[in-house]
């Protein structure tokens, strides 16, 4: 037998070979570093916010400083962690492997997208160091226009730039999935992770240009006094919200669809079954991508938008619940009579199902016109979207990171420690955000750091939960790097999963496969026939 080719981590060494790499797997690791950095940064701001909220008085920060803290938390978490997180790290690494390709369709564009992402992120970092931004991550006018008193333009420019990284990734994924599938790998044999990323890419390509231009329009108004959003100049501030949410609601699906893709893979593996209702799960991704573009006005029920539009957007928002529920029910049906084991990725995946369901259902409360009048801009909203983004996306990101860690880096993570951490994160998460539903329902508004005494107990609970959650993240940040040196060497398929990525070495070689794989089975097909109980 001939010598095995070196893995993508070996072969070439040195900074240069990494910074100029065209290998999707190395670019994925570059993204992993970038995304982790911005997650830590966003995490630091979250800690400061939660510390301030321990007491009803504003004793740690001035109001202006507090405004900047929650803005920076939101900006870094949303634009530089949640949106690129799963697609740019796991998607980048896995798409070519899952479809039996040697790389993405446009390797150079892939590297370019990382550089653009980093430049955008560092630009925003500069805005932060230069004095910060206080508009909230949504950059609503007139906070960001008439009454802007911070480095809005610099931060917005950073987000504008990083948007192009998103667009390039989307274009790359779409071209790859259309053109580079291995022989025999028809659309309905694709892993659901690939379907999810296809739908995500559509949103990236169709939505991101709109937010980029919107941000540009804010700059145009400020610099050249063209009346777009400022009523004094003949503009309409609510127009900004239309333009912003046309992208930013679908952006939630940029975060959650790849997460759902991860969950499908993990559930199939650890219940040792095919995903129940494969086609429904696949098409529900596309349905979510399309319907997700028709609901943005649910952010604007109390903004001055017409009541008629509110009714339409409310109805359309309810429709998105259908494909989301299709996924949840199909995962549960997959678990039914599955041969389930509770490895760390599975614990995260089960956590995802519960938490995402709560996050999604409370979204329906918010999409109900009259209820929204009561809870709009309260902690109820904060709790809702953290259930979706942290309980959903972050849980799935951790599920995926653990699941493919052996594949990506060739080492097994410490299983027991990882399971304990998963439980800690689940407990910490719930203690942090469940009290916020109650706080919001009782009327505590978001984005204030001074609050009435009656809200203190729940806020203390929330901060306590955040410290447990933080402990969980910190443990992960220690044992994953630790495993790179001390973890057991991974076999090609340590979890007995299905999919082409598990047929090659761990970590894979530079061009992924020794020879082009040929696919002759459905996704998640198990060799042994399923036992039928009569």
């Amino acid at each position: 037998m001939s010598q095995k080719p070196p893995t993508y981590l070996g072969g070439e060494y040195g900074m240069r070979s990494w910074l100029l790499t065209l290998d999707h797997k190395r670019i994925a690791l570059l993204y992993l570093l970038g995304v982790t950095f911005f997650f830590l940064l966003g995490g630091v701001f979250a800690v400061l916010v939660r510390l301030e909220l321990l007491t009803p008085a504003g004793d740690l920060f001035q109001s202006e400083t507090y405004n900047k803290l929650f803005t920076l938390h939101g900006v870094f978490m949303v634009f530089f962690f949640l949106i690129p997180g799963i697609p740019a790290v796991l998607g980048n690494f896995l798409l070519p492997l899952m479809i039996g390709a040697k790389d993405l369709a446009f390797p150079r564009i892939n590297l370019l997208s990382w550089y653009i992402y980093m430049v955008g992120g560092l630009f925003t970092l500069y805005a932060m160091l230069a004095g910060g931004v206080d508009t909230g991550w949504t950059f609503y006018t007139p906070y960001s226009s008439t009454y802007a008193n911070s480095h809005v333009i610099a931060a917005a420019l950073g987000i504008f730039v990083s948007g192009f990284s998103s667009i390039l990734t989307g274009v790359n994924f779409i071209a790859t999935i259309h053109k580079l599938r291995a022989p025999g790998l028809s659309w309905f044999r694709l892993p659901l992770f690939v379907w999810a990323h296809y739908a995500t890419s559509l949103i990236m390509v169709l939505g991101t240009p709109v937010v980029a231009i919107t941000i540009l329009l804010v700059a145009v108004e400020r610099l050249f006094h063209v009346g777009l959003f400022d009523p004094a100049l003949g503009g309409d501030p609510i127009l900004f919200q239309h333009l912003f949410w046309f992208y930013s609601h679908p952006a939630v699906y940029i975060m959650i669809l790849p997460a759902m893709g991860v969950i499908s893979e993990v559930i199939a593996c650890f219940s040792q079954k095919r995903i129940f209702g494969y086609k429904f799960v696949a098409f529900s991704s596309l349905a979510i991508a399309v319907l997700g573009f028709l609901v943005w006005g649910h952010h604007m029920f109390v903004s001055g938008q017409s009541l008629y539009a509110g009714v339409v957007f409310s109805l359309l928002s309810f429709l998105v619940a259908i494909p989301s529920a299709v996924k949840v029910f199909n995962w549960i049906a997959t678990l039914y009579r599955g041969s389930i084991s509770f490895e760390a990725p599975m614990l995260y995946a089960l956590g995802f199902i519960g938490l995402f369901t709560i996050g999604g259902l409370t979204g329906l409360f918010l999409a109900t016109l009259a209820v929204d009048v009561h809870v709009h801009d309260t902690y109820f909203v904060v709790a809702h979207f953290h259930f979706v983004m942290v309980g959903g996306t972050v849980m799935a990101y951790l599920a995926g990171l653990h699941f493919w860690w052996p594949k990506m880096l060739g080492r097994l993570y410490p299983e027991t420690l990882a399971r304990i951490t998963a439980v800690i994160i689940f407990v910490g998460f719930n203690l942090t955000f469940l009290p916020q539903f109650v706080l919001g329902y009782l009327g505590m508004p978001r984005r204030y750091h001074v609050y009435p005494l009656e809200f203190q107990v729940l806020n203390v609970l929330s901060t306590a939960g955040a410290s447990i959650l933080g402990l969980g993240f910190a443990m992960t940040a220690v044992y994953l790097p630790w495993s790179l040196r001390y973890g057991k060497k991974a076999t090609p398929n340590p979890f007995d999963a299905r999919g082409l990525e598990w047929t090659t070495t761990s970590p894979p070689m530079a061009h992924n496969f020794e020879e082009v794989p040929v696919v002759s089975t459905e996704a998640y097909e198990r060799d042994e026939p399923e036992v039928v109980h009569v």
């Binding site: 053109k179 169709l206 127009l239 028709l294 938008q305 017409s306 009541l307 008629y308 539009a309 339409v312």
Partner: protein, 110 residues
Amino acid sequence: MVLIHEQASLMSEHGHVLPLRIYFGVFFALLAGTALTSWVATIDLGHLNDAVALAIAGTKAALVILFFMHVRYSSKLIWVFSLAGFVWLVLFFVLILADYETRVPVQGWG
């Protein structure tokens, strides 16, 4: 290499060569559209103002996409994606106008 071959086949869809007169024809059509837009702007068509301006702009965009961007000579897949862009634009306008066209002025706020 397979990869490079695949990339080449992605590119070849844009390889169609057009005679120059088509490019010039489209160019002058775009200029005419611009002139038309500014001329129409001097006439008050009431509610139709926006519709007419958008119709001209849409036609011009279609010309650019079909000829300058070679979509007319591209595969069905490229057609689907190009049309999707337009469909999305329509969704965008329809739902935004659902707000603007149905707003009720609040008494005392001019």
